[in-house]
């Protein structure tokens, strides 16, 4: 598999292999962070820091394991934290702060409905629909019981459907 070769190459110091790994995984990492946070700048920071973590931990990475779940776990957890913190901040601080509206999305309606969900529901739906993980894999990624993942998926999708009508 090419990815294993890229990881091995990067571990041996190959910038070209690192770049292949980066180019392969950046779009989905960024997109996932963007969908969960609703903030382009935050998504860029989160995805970038995830790749920096990858560089820092490259030697310790077991290349028999797939790279994407490890990266996505970081991205999604950071994005959830960021989104929760932003909500909390909006509640506890003075009322003169109005966050900038999100940049236009290709499918603005779905984007808006996704952002009506709590961040942990949002994350589960992004992991399932965008990154195509199974509920079992999502449970492992987020350290959640599988039943919780299923219920968040169901409730989240139901709420999005309600918003559609």
């Amino acid at each position: 598999m090419a990815e294993r070769a890229w990881i091995r190459g990067a571990q041996q110091g190959s910038v070209a292999d690192l770049e292949r790994l980066f180019r392969e995984h950046w779009p989905r990492a960024y997109r996932a962070a963007r969908l969960i946070t609703g903030d382009a700048a935050a998504a860029e920071d989160i995805a970038q820091e995830a790749f920096l973590a990858a560089v820092r931990n490259l030697d310790r990475f077991d290349r028999r394991r797939p790279f994407a779940p490890w990266l996505h776990r970081i991205v999604v957890n950071r994005a959830i934290d960021w989104t929760r913190a932003r909500r909390l901040r909006a509640e506890v601080e003075l009322g003169d702060y109005v966050p900038a509206p999100p940049a236009p999305e290709p499918n603005g309606d779905i984007f808006a409905r996704l952002h009506d969900l709590p961040p942990d529901h949002r994350a589960v739906i992004v992991l399932r629909s965008l990154l195509e993980y199974t509920p079992g894999e999502i449970a492992a990624l987020l350290d959640l019981p599988r039943g919780t993942v299923n219920s968040r998926l169901r409730r989240g999708l139901d709420r999005m459907k309600d918003g559609e009508s």
Partner: protein
Amino acid sequence: MNGAEERAWEVVRRAFDERSRAPRRARVGNRPLLALVVVALGAALVAALSPPGRAVFQQVREAVGVEHAAPALFSLPGGGRLLVVSSRRGGAWIVERDGLKRDLGPYADASWSPHGLYVVATRGNELVALDPAGHVHWSLARRAPSRPAWNGTRTNTRIAYLAASGLRVVAGDGTGDRLLDAHAGAIAPAWDPARRFTLAYYAGGAIVLRRDTGAVVWRRDISIRPSELAWSSDGRYLAVFSSRRVEILDAAGRLHRTVSMLEATLRSGAFEPGSHDLAVVVRYPARSEVYLVDVDRPGHARLLFAGPGHFGDVAWSPDGRWLLVAWPAANQWVFIHGTKVHAVANIARQFHRAGGLGPKLELAGRWCC
């Protein structure tokens, strides 16, 4: 490919290069990198490492800063001399280490000479060189001069400044004044400490490093609108501040890394002398924080101080042991050294001039030898 991807790739590649150069030592003992977003006390976000006990630490700092402030600036904790400027028609003062304060006059901007023997200041359409006693040695009539910066040796110096005509350079004795770049933006130029008479400035969407002879060393296009430039004391890094992020360029103008604090506005900052630790002032809607960011180690930052309202500039003592943080909202200055905090109250009253507009006091780069 897009801008975000390219910016991120450049930062990741730089981190990879550095890992390759120092593969073992850099990794031993590093704490986990990816504490990108940390929630503390339900309000604080940190795009960096969060130390244990951060919330308690923060509360203690706030309490000390507010409750135990000295009523006046009796002395400078870190020694040296401080050049204080109120840009709101307030004037310029020099504060000696024992607290002696000297009013230089109604200057709008001021900066030390390289060894603290003189001060260059601006007022109206005049660039003025004066000694620390306030005696004027020479003055140069130019339209709307501002942001002077002095650099060089004891025997050969240059002053860069902005004027209506653009970025200009004049010798330390007031001779040889000339236009360097008519398109320079309105942020202060910053002399490169490692290259003789070479300065960085903003022009036309790029950071330019140029010799005073006019030769361009490098030019780096940037996507941010910079508000301030700050060199590390060894000239290895140039921090380009904007409200959303700091871009750290290396000596060749390549992007080394970016620093950003999610949901926050970056105000200003300065490199600790003799290190690659960058003090960064971060503003949230109702509070501010100061972090010390290790630009050599992505993700490593330390909260130094936090408080309600907005912080202003920061300045390092010449020996790098103390960091001075201006806190206009509390009318205080806060001197920080490790876990020690020394706050001074009533700052606006101590630097008041009739007709001035009040307490907007600037500090950056003005704590001298």
